[in-house]
Amino acid sequence: MIFFIMQQTMFFFIPLLIVALGGMFSERSGIVNIALEGIMVMGAFTSILFISTFQHMMPGQTTLLLGLLIAMATGVFVACFHAYACINLNANQTISGIAINIFAPAFAIYTARIVGQTQQVFFAPQMFLISSVPILGEIPIIGPSFFQGAYITTYIGIGVLVVSWFVLYKTRFGLRLRSCGEHPQAADSVGINVYRIRWAAVLISGALAGMGGLVLIVPTSIAFNATVSGYGFLAIAVLIFGQWKPLRIILAAFFFGLMQAITASHTVIGFLRDIAIPAHFYHMTPYIATLVLLAFTSKRSAAPRALGQPYEKGLR
């Protein structure tokens, strides 16, 4: 039972983690990215369209990996619009993001209906399921929790986490990126190209959000219906809840993932079924818990100082 919940948790935890890390790159460089939801939709849409077309011609894992690349490329493409508006044109970052969030599902429905007559794009996710990872799946406790009934996307998500942490804190690029989010004028004064760093950050966030869209859809459904059910917004919540720091984002994403898993499977958990609380209250729990936790932890917010402010060269 515990193993089942752990598997379920991973399905929600990993996409939230990936997308929240994507948001982290953008926001640590000073650009608000409320477009994560829309970018997830676009990434999931193009890649699932690809998967549903080609999955019977290629081995499962190859298709999925190619799908991930396509999702990332799509995310980068969509993020270009956000980056150009926010960085080069000093546009209102929230409005630009909202535009993308409106555009994405409309585009997905429109294209799906042109291509296949219906709004939904069906695919066969069972091809991608790894029933048990060789050797690792045999380990007691850890094996059934993490290495059985899993998707390759789970391990990619962990990889993204490690790389993100490393890039942000252990590379020159990461240091420059953080400085652009705290004090872009100071960064500029020591020769950092704020525009270029912010572009890179927004594009990374697009790639990760696009990938997150596919990673969310593959284990949890059999068709893509032009929505990621608000997970992009949840990822923003995870990001803020995680105080814009990768290690805290893990905890926040795991908490949300666990809550979603309990919600999704409370009818099969013995003692929860016996209490017979209406399902609606399980659905509310993660959101209420977030509010309560935020109420106690937000007094000192660690938001990047220049978040949301357009950078103008020459402005003091």
């Binding site: 508006a85 909202i98 535009a99 555009f103 429109y110 509310m284 959101y287 977030t290 935020l294 917010s301």
Partner: protein, 364 residues
Amino acid sequence: MNTFKAGFSDFLASGAAVLAGLFVGLIVLFFTNASQAIPAFLTILTSGFSSLRNFGDVLYFATPIIMTGLSVGFAYKTGLFNIGATGQFTFGAFAAIYVGVEFQFLPPAIRIITALVAAMLCGALWAAIPGLLKAYRNVHEVISCIMSNYIGMFLVNWLILNTIFDPFRAQTAVVPASSNMPRWGMNYIFTDGIIASSVNSGIIVALAAAVIIHIVLNKTKFGFELKAAGFNKDAAKYAGIAQNRNIVLSMMISGALAGLGGALLYLSGAGISMNVANVLAAEGFTGISVAFLALGSPIGIIFTGMLIAYLHLGGFTMQLFGFVPEIIEIVISVIIYFSAFSLLMKIYLTRLAKKRAKEKEEVV
């Protein structure tokens, strides 16, 4: 004179965004089916004015989104981003339907007013949560609003199932005709001779709300204090403005407007009911578009609300030519994307105007 000029350049900037959006829409139409693109595009442009009934429908569609637009716009003017309008809207809608269905012991006029007041109260109370969290616990309103949207959606679904649920239609119970907003003869004006539009006195309420919010924001000390706190909270605090109280009040007023929007939609007498589905109400998000397109100006919101409604009606009619109505959403998203640059366009226009004025001076 200056405010007029500023208003005019705002209008030009928004107008340019609208043209850009329509242009992209035209391209998409051509890309889909070139032979039908022109008639479909003309339908989008004209269907809202093609009959009095259609124009009435534009007003009918505009009513709730003007209200949610005012909600977002008011909060925006006071420095808050109320992304929670959808939850407040849903709560208002539930309260209004509940009063409309269950309070039949009240005479109709009093019942309707009670329903509207209940909707505003519920919207205000739901918005008070992010307001209080922002003011006293420093929780960013965007995240608490996102959370409260989902909590509100599940809570209202549960409330509906346990109170005013009609199991045969799997929706909320039918609101009796006497609980609906009066038509005030509009069904005789806005008709194509056979079918009357669903427009009702709700649009008058929405217009009045816009004017009241305009006056409160621009002509009263209270509005000035709210705006000052949004513009520069440290300066406002230094000037002795009770900032925390103002944040909560701003959110509550904003929530009341969204809640009223919910009431006006579901008491419209158009025969629509609330579904019990895990979907956030779209009106709240459309309100964000409406508000930002008008740069938060209450009077501007009347026009942008009608514009979005007009486009939606056009998209609906356009289906006759075999096009997917989502094309309109694409058009709207492009309009909003370009309106994000409106600041840039405004600066450009102002520079142009200054240059012209200078040239004139030189000639003189």
